[in-house]
Symmetry: C2
Amino acid sequence: MQKNPMRLSKSLFVTLREEPAEAEIPSHKLLLRAGYIRRIGSGLYAYLPLMWRVLTKVRQIVKEEMDATGAQECLLPQLQPAELWQQSGRWDTYTQAEGIMFAFTDRQKREVALGPTHEEVVTAVARDLIKSYRQLPQHLYQIQSKFRDEIRPRFGLMRGREFIMKDGYSFHADAESLKATYNDMHDAYCKMLTRCGLKYRAVDADSGAIGGSGSQEFMVLAAAGEDDVMFTADGEYAANVEKAVSLAPEAVASPFTSYEIKDTPNTNSIDKLVKFLECDRTSIVKNLIQQAVYDNGKTVLVLISIRSDREVNQVKLTNELVKLAPNYGAKTVIALEVPDGVAIDKWASKPLPLGYIAPDLSDEYIQSSPNVHPQFLRIVDETAASLTNFITGTNEPGKHVVGANWNTNFPIPAVKVDIQKALVGDRAIHDPTQVLETARGIEVGHIFQLGTKYSQAMGATFTNEQGEEQPLVMGCYGVGVSRLAQAAVEQSYDKDGIIWPVAIAPYHAIICVPNIADAQQMEVAERLYSELNQLGVETILDDRDERAGVKFKDADLIGIPFRIVTGRSLKDGKVEVVQRATKQSQDIAVENVGATIKDWIGN
Amino acid sequence: MQKNPMRLSKSLFVTLREEPAEAEIPSHKLLLRAGYIRRIGSGLYAYLPLMWRVLTKVRQIVKEEMDATGAQECLLPQLQPAELWQQSGRWDTYTQAEGIMFAFTDRQKREVALGPTHEEVVTAVARDLIKSYRQLPQHLYQIQSKFRDEIRPRFGLMRGREFIMKDGYSFHADAESLKATYNDMHDAYCKMLTRCGLKYRAVDADSGAIGGSGSQEFMVLAAAGEDDVMFTADGEYAANVEKAVSLAPEAVASPFTSYEIKDTPNTNSIDKLVKFLECDRTSIVKNLIQQAVYDNGKTVLVLISIRSDREVNQVKLTNELVKLAPNYGAKTVIALEVPDGVAIDKWASKPLPLGYIAPDLSDEYIQSSPNVHPQFLRIVDETAASLTNFITGTNEPGKHVVGANWNTNFPIPAVKVDIQKALVGDRAIHDPTQVLETARGIEVGHIFQLGTKYSQAMGATFTNEQGEEQPLVMGCYGVGVSRLAQAAVEQSYDKDGIIWPVAIAPYHAIICVPNIADAQQMEVAERLYSELNQLGVETILDDRDERAGVKFKDADLIGIPFRIVTGRSLKDGKVEVVQRATKQSQDIAVENVGATIKDWIGN
């Protein structure tokens, strides 16, 4: 399939010597300089022939691993009727609140959108085709260009407005069947990335706007990654920093063993309090107020108690607040923030004892208003919940309590959850002898256990073994194909250019003819070109009328794994073969070159 | 690549017994009924797994034939910035006049469009990358979904709003190089269609809105085709009816050998005149007025002289008028029509002698007006130009002339062209012993010699051998991949369902197990399923818990070329093999089935 060879003299092959001004990160610069891509508009790229070969190889690997799991390839329309998104309830969020979807009207004035994802369309197909548990499970996938109207498209193919994705959707009779497919997908994704020659980590992830319960991201490790990954050295744990859990350092025993209110003048910060009381931060419970706005317009004030050496992870907190949405007659949270003085004045009935707030701050501080819930939502992080004899505020400026205990001195909040940020050096949950490390990653895959969110909203049901109608249980699984290709470059380059992993390199080998006027050089080059391609070693012939130096520079820049030079060593019946990654060079007899490289590429 | 097999019991396979109400033509009905496609919205279809396999096979054949010509595959963005279309001058036509392009604004309020075609984008790429004649020729192609905001989407994949195309664009230093690639494309397209197992004709075509000089269409012959094709039995000539040329029947010698004005009362139609004069229609020159509106708003009145047994081909006439546009300070024709009485009254200075018009009708009939050109554009069709001693009007009601001759009696119009409609039974130009026949066809491919239309408008130039800057000479070549797949069905089906050509069938064979509770039937079926797929005979196993009749009906409906039944003949160590196309059935020893079918599919 990838057979057609390439003579550079006859190809649209143009490299740039200068650094392209439009690019910020190395992989983007290199793909532009090496002639893989060209910018057509903001976040829009032409994939030139070399790039298309890389993408085709990635697609093929993805396809093979998907097919091996029994998933069936299909193709869904990119243009999607608004009705489907209205049925799922995502039309407004995607077209207005986040505005990430290109939406417009057709000549009949019907609203349509360009798919950033296909849960709605595939659920409509399943609703139409799946009637009985006997048809389950099913798994459809496609490889296709997706569209996102990004606020700030950047980093080339990393965050474009049009990009290639593999997206798959599975349908199940129950959560157990979903879990089995989800696990198969985890394994398939690991195989794909391994076959692509990438260093990666599968990490626990937040499910975000897609929704559902469990999810994992697949991160290609690279310094320019946009995501922070936390992991343990034993390989047993890895998570996106947004989702990471850990054991906070053990708390130092509180120096105060009996309850007492102390005068603590000028201690409105934890630093000042620690200094004043000569205590450890781990003995103090800090109490913070955040302000959540639900989708029904209601503002809820959240009073958080957390150990004073820890920070709140806003993503974890948001997820907890979303779970509580039904309590406030809402579906989701649309904003969460730490209120400043101006924001506080809008709802506070009197000045708050900032810096001295206690876990039992009275609801009387909330002014009566139709848009503001009249009670604090009290949440305690597990780090604070487990403390004894702790120090905390009194709601009275200049005073703290010491030696306090939950329920004895303060009622413990009903909502007791993990909302702390995991930090480098924290102990791991699965094994406290392991500590969390951090790395930068590029998200190239994401798998989700969606559950019944879409099937319920869109009425995609089946009849179970008992004859009852039930919503389909769904999973969804995405790979950023074009992003993955660029991530491979971001992970593997040097000062001279790209170093492609062999499995996704556009070609395996490039034959550089130092002097095309030399008949022997050309004759050997042509012979090898034909022989290697026949052997399945995909080979380019650089037969351009250029200096040898230019050819070597270009070969390094485009990153072909093996460079064959029909130069000086021809007198001994040999050619020079240089490995791009290591720059190691060796002379190999012309008749052995094919077999040697075929062996190296494992083909 | 097409290896992954399929157990129907585990696949999303749903056929319909009823005729789908939404479909008008057989292929559309069959693709819906057989579970190949599902409608998602107006002109938008989901390609389900079986369909995707057909499309993948067509794509692969197209790719292989394109690669074999040296064309390089790439992928251009579907989302296109308006600037490019403004540079080519097509933005207004595509978004307003015809409105066929989906256009909208992004979040930054920039105008963008969804590509119905990619001349603009690829010319921008060429402008960026091609500088010198030494880089020429080049040919880039892609296989991708295109979009058209059709007024009336219909016939399933035939005229959808989103459809898969192969589009290629070549760049040349001169017309000769373009012609060579154009000819290569003609041959490649013939190979593609032959490999796909289709009956087709390559026909001379009108270039339409794409522009340029020569063009050919590739028509899959089928009764439900939207196009009329004219051809000769020797295979030497074929053309779209819009473009077809022919020799009109030889004119009968005029009975009037000397010039005379005759009273011919009540002969304002050719029929009446023929009866009155007892002459042949081929002796009469009829003179017609048409009304052309150019893009600068100017109306030009066209006085056409044509032999009275022939009709005007409006497409040919329009093309001639476009060529003459510069004479009227215009670029193109935006409307051409036969004026009715109301329309004539708008420009006529006095009543026209309708039914008696002569080739020299005076320009005085045209009333002076800034929007109307003051002179008739006089055009003579070749059928009339070659007549002698002809009969025609006198501009005086009730009178005709007979025995008239050009230049003796009437000045012959300067514009002497072929604008006659070719008719079934006409003699062919290349060989007058051949006569034109007609057939209905579905256009699945179109190749164009574009010339410099886009490169000139967009400033895509190169430096030629003489160091001069010149616009790139371009060709473009399209195949409707999804349309081709449906056209194959339209060409090949029977009352029971689809009959796929082997090369593009989703699978080669289907094993139907009449009774899955019969251990021997299942055992043989499983063995053959595994063996055939390993041999490269792509095989489905129908292991559903359904009656044998249902399975046979479904197998016929989905059109798999070979059906293997593990039924009664098992007692003799044989299975029944039925050929879908011929319904011929034979019993084949189990151990020979693989080799036999492998041989039949030519694999």
